[in-house]
């Protein structure tokens, strides 16, 4: 019995990835929960439009409302567009009594804070929540979960698929065959891309059906964002496979990568309320940007133009990740090429294979 315990400890000591999971993961979770978990929103961006814009803007408690836009010449339609583009979280339309506050319902925690603050003003302000009138959590979660599921499929399944070549020893054979490394990668991820795309359609459909989540925007924009995001996560899956020797390691690494995304991409805890020290991690994660796209398109009907940032970031990530993965994969599959060429001088073999002594001895 003691022998068994000692052996397991010794093996564990050498298994760095499991150790990382057992020790680093809890530490990470503690830090995240400590600094990131914050359901309270302390400030929101506001716009004020209408004839009394300037006065009302001054009257708003500046501790909570960060007024970034004051446009007396704009009307309600302009205010609605600003919310759709997520330029601000709340737009106040003056020139009517009571003053109308339009709130972006797709930003759940911000809206809840805004509503509770504005309610204190009583009859002076009438609040209207756009995009998610009942402030349903599911409406905000479903678009985010779509991204989460794609992340799972992308990273975990792909990393196993490629590591399998290494495990079965067929990687060597592939290296010798007349197949280009890029062909291998693309050929391997295509089935997963297709499966993920089908999964995406099913989940989106189901989400809409079961929870009544709307789809107010352009399906093309949504698909484009999804395709781009898939590329990123699949590329990460390929990359994980190039640094893993076994399927077990690949799954562990994929998990180590996916878990922070669940917690830090703004799906559960709003990005805006995270401590700055932790928030920057969120901005590095692809899921953060896809969630911006999926929530924007489904709930707010946002346009491609207003979503330029997440699209750009995802495109850059896709390019970087794929480049990195291909280069690493090439290392496994193809040789470093020697610069100069010269023909090997070989004397014709002697008639008998008595063999002239060649080579060092």
């Amino acid at each position: 019995m003691r022998a068994m315990i000692v052996k397991e400890f010794r093996e564990l000591r050498r298994d760095r990835r499991t150790l990382a999971m057992l020790i680093a993961m809890p530490l990470l979770l503690l830090v995240i929960f400590g600094y990131a978990a914050n359901f309270k929103v302390s400030t929101v961006k506001a716009a004020v439009v209408g004839p009394q814009a300037t006065q009302v803007a001054a009257a708003l408690p500046s501790s909570f409302f960060d007024v970034t836009v004051t446009q007396p010449s704009d009307r309600q339609a302009d205010a609605e567009r600003m919310l759709q583009d997520r330029t601000v979280n709340v737009a106040i339309v003056t020139g009517r009594a009571p003053v109308l506050a339009l709130v972006d319902g797709s930003n759940l925690f911000a809206s809840q804070s805004i509503v509770s603050v504005l309610n204190k003003e009583g009859n002076k302000v009438s609040t209207q929540i756009l995009f998610n009138p009942e402030l349903k959590t599911s409406w905000v979660m479903v678009p985010a979960i779509i991204g989460l599921i794609l992340t799972f499929i992308g990273t975990i399944v792909t990393s196993i698929g490629l590591v399998r070549e290494r495990e079965t020893g067929t990687l060597e054979q592939l290296a010798v065959m007349p197949i280009k490394p890029s062909t291998v990668i693309l050929g391997k991820i295509s089935p997963y891309f297709l499966v993920a795309a089908i999964d995406l359609s099913i989940i989106t459909g189901l989400g809409m059906l079961l929870f009544g989540v709307p789809f107010n925007g352009n399906a093309f924009v949504f698909s484009l964002g999804a395709a781009l995001f898939l590329f990123v996560v699949l590329g990460i899956g390929v990359f994980i496979s190039t640094v893993s020797q076994t399927a077990g390691q690949a799954i562990q690494t994929a998990f180590l990568f996916t878990l922070p995304q669940i917690l830090l991409s703004g799906v559960i805890f709003p990005l805006d309320s995270m401590a700055a020290g932790v928030r920057w991690i969120g901005y590095l994660l692809p899921l953060t940007y896809f969630t911006m796209i999926s929530q924007g398109v489904m709930l707010r009907g946002a346009s491609l133009g207003s979503l330029w940032l997440p699209f750009l970031v995802l495109a850059v990530m896709a390019a970087v990740v794929f480049l990195g993965a291909t280069l690493r994969f090439r290392r496994d599959l193809a040789p470093g090429r020697r610069r100069h060429r010269s023909t090997v001088a070989v004397e014709p073999a002697a008639a008998s294979t008595g063999g002239q002594a060649r080579g060092a001895s």
Binding site: R2, A3, M4, V6, K7, R10, E11, R14, D15
Partner: protein, 276 residues
């Protein structure tokens, strides 16, 4: 005290892994079980050590503490060092302290692993790893040593080393059963058992097996019956039922173990083809 497996029959689902196979081994000798993949070698060895239930037949073997078993996979843990592997096994069999250390060091020295005690098993070459597995099986000085394909995939020098270790173990009084795909190892054993698809092709001492071979083997550059010939070096060996059948342009040779095993396999294949 002869250890043995008598008339063993083993089934795995629909497959007949062993069909009426018998094996016996005396202390101080080495018995080789030879055959290819799927012949039933591993099943037979596992029956001997009690890991496989027999559908029919009986086994006569010492209690688990008296058996040392080395599986075909080598039996060592990759992420432990040589010394740690040995210590683990020692702990299992209740060896500890100075007795463990001295026995461990002695075995590792004999296996030429004395300089690699702190190297991880995964960093050892194939041959060295097998020698480690052997040392682990020998640690508790078993009466019966069972080794499953210790030499497959191992380089010639390590194979000789392994054979030396096996011979020393037998010389010290253990009964050793080892399975192998190498016929020269079978030739060196006190007795051998050749298996094919769960059935016995031949058994006994080398002299018995060669002596009881009925038939003639001829060396020729152009075999008459391709289905009964196989390459040896530049020419072929061809099987003929009797010496009289050997054609004039072929030379009769004294059959060696490879000739006998190949011929018996061919005959068996022919039989099953006729039967089906």
């Amino acid at each position: 005290m002869t250890y043995a497996v008598r008339s063993a029959t083993v089934r795995f689902g629909d497959t007949l892994a062993l069909d009426d196979v018998s094996l016996q081994v005396e202390p101080g000798s080495v018995v080789a079980v030879v055959g290819g993949d799927g012949a039933g070698k591993t099943t037979l060895l596992r029956s001997l050590v009690g890991k496989v239930q027999l559908a029919r037949g009986e086994v006569n073997a010492p209690a688990p503490e008296g058996i040392g078993y080395m599986p075909a996979t080598g039996g060592s843990w990759s992420s432990l060092s040589v010394a740690q592997n040995m210590d683990f096994v020692g702990g299992i069999y209740g060896l500890s302290g100075k007795a463990l250390v001295s026995r461990r060091d002695q075995l590792l020295e004999r296996a030429s692993l004395g300089h690699s005690v702190d190297r991880l098993a995964s960093q050892l070459s194939g041959g060295m790893r097998r020698k480690l597995g052997f040392s682990m099986a020998m640690l508790h000085d078993p009466a019966l040593l069972v080794l499953d394909e210790p030499s497959t995939g191992v380089d010639p020098v390590s194979r000789v080393d392994l054979w030396r270790l096996v011979s020393e173990a037998a010389a010290a009084g253990a009964a050793v059963v080892m399975s192998t795909t190498y016929l020269d190892e079978a030739e060196r054993a006190a007795s051998l058992l050749a298996l094919d698809s769960g059935r016995t092709l031949a058994s006994g001492t080398l002299t018995d097996v060669l002596g009881s071979f009925g038939g003639a083997i001829a060396r020729t550059a152009s075999p008459r019956r391709r289905a009964w010939a196989w390459r040896r070096g530049r020419e072929y060996h061809e099987y003929w039922p009797t010496a009289l059948d050997v054609p004039f342009d072929a030379v009769a040779v004294t059959p060696d173990l490879e000739d006998v095993v190949v011929t018996l396999s061919m005959l068996k294949q022919h039989e099953s083809e006729l039967a089906s």
